[in-house]
Structure formats: C-alpha cells, structure tokens
C-alpha cells in the first residue's frame, strides 16, 4: 500500500520511519548518519546548540545566579550581625572585616559576569562548513509567528498475541486483506480518521491521525475491535514513530541559492523532485522546501522537534526572500 501516491518513490519513504512495518521498501529514512551535531546557522546565537539545549543552559545559569545571590545575602546578613555586635569595639577592626568579607563576593560576582553568553563560546568545535551568514543576526527570542500544523502521525503498538488475519478480514466490516499483495490486514475507522496495518504477529501500525492523542485513541479502538473479534489483545509499547507537519512561510524561496549556501544539508534536483530536501541535524528532521514557500517537516518523534526545526529554518528562508 502506497500512503503517499503523489510523491515519487524515493520521497515516499520520508513518511515511513525506520523499523516501522510499512508496505514496500522505505527508500529514504529521515535518520542520517551525520555526527557533527549541527544546526543551520543564519543567526549568531546557537552555533552548535539547539534552542532546547540553549534554554536549558540559560535556566541552569539562572539557577546558579540565584543560588549565588542567596549566598551573598546570607553573607551580608552575617556581616551586619557581626558589625552590629562589634559596634562597641574599635572601628578599624570592623572595616577590615567588612573588606575581607567582601572579597569572596567580588570573586563570586566575577564568575557571574564572565559566564559565557550564547553563541560566543560554543561547547564543541564550530562546524567546518564554509557557509557565510546570509541574514543579519536575529535574537534567539524572536520567533517566526508561524506554527507548523501536524498532518500525520505514525505510531506502533503491540497487541501481544498472534492473530488470524483471515478471521479478522472475514468478521470485520472495515478490513481488507489480500495476502498476495501485502501480508497485513488494512483496517480503517472513521473517528479519528485513521488507517491501521495489523500483522499476524500482533504488531500494528496506525497512521493518519493529526495529533499524538488522536493516534493513541485510534490505536486503542483498533485494539478493541480485535478484542471483540475474539483475540486476547492487549495494548503494549505504544510509541509514536514519526510525525509530519507542514506550514507556509508565505513568500517564494530561491531554492538554487539555498542549495549553494547550505550544500552540506541540502539536496535539490529539479529533474527528480520540485522541492529542496533539507536534512537538519539538530534536531534530526527532514524538511521539504518548495518554491512557493510551503515547507513539510518530517522525521520527528515529538512535536517540539517539528517546532524547533521550523524556528531554525525560518531565518534561513527569510534570507532568500528578496534576491532580484
């Protein structure tokens, strides 16, 4: 069964996760063996860190700052108590204690000010790509204002028992089974509107849902159908395998320019496919970018990866907005 009939064979595999039991041979896998841990870099902040990791670093720094501030306050309180107790003693002794007490604070405050700022001191070596930034630097907090919409969720679940596919195809209304063509029952339900592939091993693939929750609910309904047909079906190891999202940046994109400046990540073969295939490394997402400004993102295990990938690519695409 072809789930994406409109795509050429090599691009159809983009929607099929590795390891998932889908019909045919997945031509492409969104997983790629790059190991440099790179994100696209039009903006100067996250040279080698993803936005999520950067946020975590900032949170850790803030926590450190808060702890050090608390320590400073405690020391100040102690010093005030000491000073109050020593008011009756000589004033010179109090001054030296105050000054000696302040030296550690300066040391601590110095470490605060010299904490590395985002983008200036990357944790691991800068990438070896020769690309130059096309767009001016944009702050990390400026977002595109566009939210990718989820279009398809692929999930798997183990029903935990062997299944007789002929019996399922005979007794279920919404099932089709053609063993000569494909070794699984294809079952469909109306709400959520999804399709399931049910294998004799008891493993099942659920596709077509628009959210993680809908995918889970649909998988449970399929499991219930199989239960009603007399099999001791369980609901084990439910897992989201792939998420596909799409959005529109609302301006045309010079794909020829993008493939030149981001050659390491891009593949643009207009003779084969009209879109540019951008393989982002961090997060590990594959993007299909079209001249109309429409972008398809796939290969995510969680929703946040889709959003992060789009926020990474948007400044790059804006750089190719006006080239005439």
């Amino acid at each position: 069964m072809d789930q994406n009939n409109s795509l050429p064979p090599y691009a159809q595999g983009l929607a099929s996760p590795q390891g998932a039991m889908t019909p045919g041979i997945p031509i492409f896998s969104p997983m790629m063996p790059y190991g440099t841990g790179l994100t696209p870099q039009p903006i100067q902040n996250t040279n080698s860190l993803s936005i999520l990791e950067e946020q975590q670093r900032q949170q850790q720094q803030q926590q450190q700052q808060q702890q050090q501030q608390q320590q400073q306050q405690q020391q100040q309180q102690q010093q005030q108590a000491v000073a109050a107790a020593a008011v009756q003693q000589s004033t010179s002794q109090q001054a030296t204690q105050g000054t000696s007490g302040q030296a550690p604070q300066l040391f601590h405050s110095q470490t605060l000010t010299t904490a590395p700022l985002p983008g200036t001191t990357p944790l691991y070596p800068s990438p070896m790509t020769p690309m130059t930034p096309i767009t001016p630097a944009t702050p990390a907090s400026e977002s595109s204002g566009i939210v990718p919409q989820l279009q398809n969720i692929v999930s798997t679940v183990n029903l935990g028992c062997k299944l007789d596919l002929k019996t399922i195809a005979l007794r279920a209304r919404n099932a089709e089974y053609n063993p000569k063509r494909f070794a699984a029952v294809i079952m469909r339900i109306r709400e959520p509107r999804t399709t399931a592939l049910i294998f004799s091993s008891g493993k099942m693939v659920c596709t077509g849902a628009k959210s993680e929750e809908q995918s889970r609910l649909a998988a449970r309904k399929y499991a219930r159908v199989v239960q009603k047909l007399g099999f001791p079906a369980k609901f084990l190891d439910f897992k989201i395998q792939n998420m596909v999202g799409s959005c529109d940046v609302k301006f045309p994109i010079r794909l020829e320019g993008l493939v030149l400046t981001h050659q390491q990540f891009s593949s643009y073969e207009p003779e084969l496919f009209p879109g540019l295939i951008y393989r982002m490394i961090k997060p590990r997402i594959v993007l299909l970018i079209f001249v109309s400004g429409k972008v398809v993102l796939t290969g995510a295990k969680v929703r946040a990866e889709i959003y992060e990938a789009f926020e990474n690519i948007y400044p790059i695409l804006k750089g190719f907005r006006k080239t005439t």
Partner: protein, 285 residues
C-alpha cells in the same frame, strides 16, 4: 539525468530513487545543476547548424548566436521564477525555440514548436509548450515598458520579432515591469478592496486625459512563481482544535459498528466461494 536514463534503458523513477540513495549512503557531494552548461550541451544536440536535406536553408542558424540568445532567455526565465522547482529541459527547449525564431522571424514565425523539435531531431518535452507560453507572457509584460514597443500593441507572435531589444534591456525592464511580490503575498487579499476604491477615483480623474490614458504602461505585475499566482486548487481549512486526550472511554456500540453480523459473514463467505468458483465455469458460446 534524462540522457543517463535513456542510455541505461531505465525508468526515471527507478533511477531517481537509486541515485538519491547512493548519494545519501556514500555521503557524496554532487555539484548542483549548472544551467549554463546544460544549455550548451542541449543546444549542441540540435541539428540546425548545418544545411541538410531535411532542414530548409532559411532554418539553418549560427550556433554561437543561438547559444548566446538562448542563455539570455534562460537567465530571464530564471530571474522571473519560471525555472525554480521545474524540470530544466522544457524551459531550455522553449528558450531555444524562441531564440531561433527571433533571429530570423520573417521566415520562422510560421514554424511551430513541435515542428522545430522534429526538424532539429530533438524530443519535445511535454511541459515545453506551457513554458513557452509563460516566457512569452513575461516578454509581453516587458514590452509594455519599452517606449517604442508600447505603441505597437504586441501579441505572443509579434513580440518574437523584438526579443533582441527586450533582452538587451532586460535588467531594467524586469525591474520596471514587475514588482517584488515576496512581501506582498500576505496582503494580496486586501489589495482588491484598496484597488477597487483607488481605481474608481483614478478613473474619474483620468477621463480628462483622453488619448494619453491608453498609452500609459500597465502597473507592474507581481514577480512570483506561477504556482503562487494561480488560485489554489483546493482550500485546506484549518482543522478545529482537538480536545482528545487519548484515554477516553470507547463505547461498545462504536466498536460494534465495525463488526459484521453473522448473516453478513455468511453472505460474504458465500460471495467469496462464488467468486472462486466462477473462473472454473466454462463460458457459454
């Protein structure tokens, strides 16, 4: 790639999937397509540069002149968003045809694209006709902004005679004939309202100008890829916000609607048996 597929006798889909897999697995850094090189290679395959029994004398053309003009036309097509995301060969075929026609329009305007490809012993790619129409539309837009062509009221045939002039001034003509549409896509919906009001006021004011009104160039068209200028084929309404949690109770009645009744099961089995028995029954004479 088309040439490789022809030489290997393979289908383009099979070739493309294998090629992309190999590039990915081996981590190959394949240089991106160079249009200029493709134009030179493709134009060299045209059998129009030497006189032969199948090619009339008036159709023979100088190779360098044709190549130079074709390159300029392809560059113009690329600048006006006709190349990005499309197969390059049909664009080059259309550009070569226009370049050939424009070099001696008096004798060649009557020759169609299909006949041109046949004479040149080159396959006619299917999209070449639409690329040709798009390129002619761009040239017509540019001609409206060239002073000595504005009065001629050109059409898609007559504009071919002036391709030389248009290419000579193409950079400035593209700037004046088209306005950058990249920032205006989002406001396209609001424009008709604003333009309707503006046009009404403009018409009242311009009625007194009389003859001059018809000679003014048209307002610059949006410079966008054709796919963005056409109305969308189908509207995709945004799905309503889902409140599904994934842990809702599933009613028995909802599941039972997907189960066959015993009667349906018997009917289905009977139909399957009949279907399997059908081929064994001899057809009546």
């Amino acid at each position: 790639m088309g040439a490789i597929c022809t030489l290997l006798y393979v289908d383009l889909d099979v070739f493309s999937s294998t090629y992309m897999q190999i590039v990915k697995l081996l981590g190959l850094d394949v240089p991106s397509l160079c249009l200029a090189e493709l134009v030179k290679t493709y134009c060299n395959s045209f059998k129009l540069f030497e006189a032969s029994p199948s090619v009339p004398a008036k159709y023979v053309e100088d190779k360098e002149k044709m190549l130079s003009r074709t390159l300029q036309l392809v560059e113009l097509a690329s600048e006006t968003w006709l190349v990005t995301g499309r197969h390059p060969l049909p664009v080059i075929t259309a550009a070569t045809f226009l370049a050939w026609q424009s070099l001696q329009p008096a004798y060649r305007l009557s020759c169609s694209l299909a006949r041109f490809c046949k004479l040149a012993n080159v396959d006619l790619p299917y999209p070449a006709s639409s690329r040709l129409q798009e390129l002619l539309a761009v040239l017509l837009r540019m001609a409206e902004h060239l002073a000595w062509l504005r009065v001629l009221r050109l059409d898609k045939r007559s504009v071919v005679k002036h391709i030389g002039d248009l290419l000579q001034h193409r950079h400035s003509l593209v700037r004046s004939a088209f306005r950058d549409g990249t920032g205006e896509v989002e406001t396209l919906e609001k424009e008709p309202l604003g333009q309707g009001q503006g046009q009404g006021e403009g018409e009242v004011g311009n009625n007194s100008l009389g003859l001059l009104q018809g000679k003014r160039p048209a307002s610059p068209a949006l410079l966008l890829p054709p796919c963005m200028l056409k109305p969308p084929k189908r509207t995709c309404p945004t799905p309503p916000v889902s409140t599904v949690t994934g842990e809702e109770d599933i009613s028995d009645s909802e599941i039972e609607q997907y189960l066959r009744t015993p009667q349906e099961v018997r009917d289905f089995q009977r139909a399957q048996a009949a279907k399997q028995a059908a081929p064994s029954v001899a057809n009546p004479p």
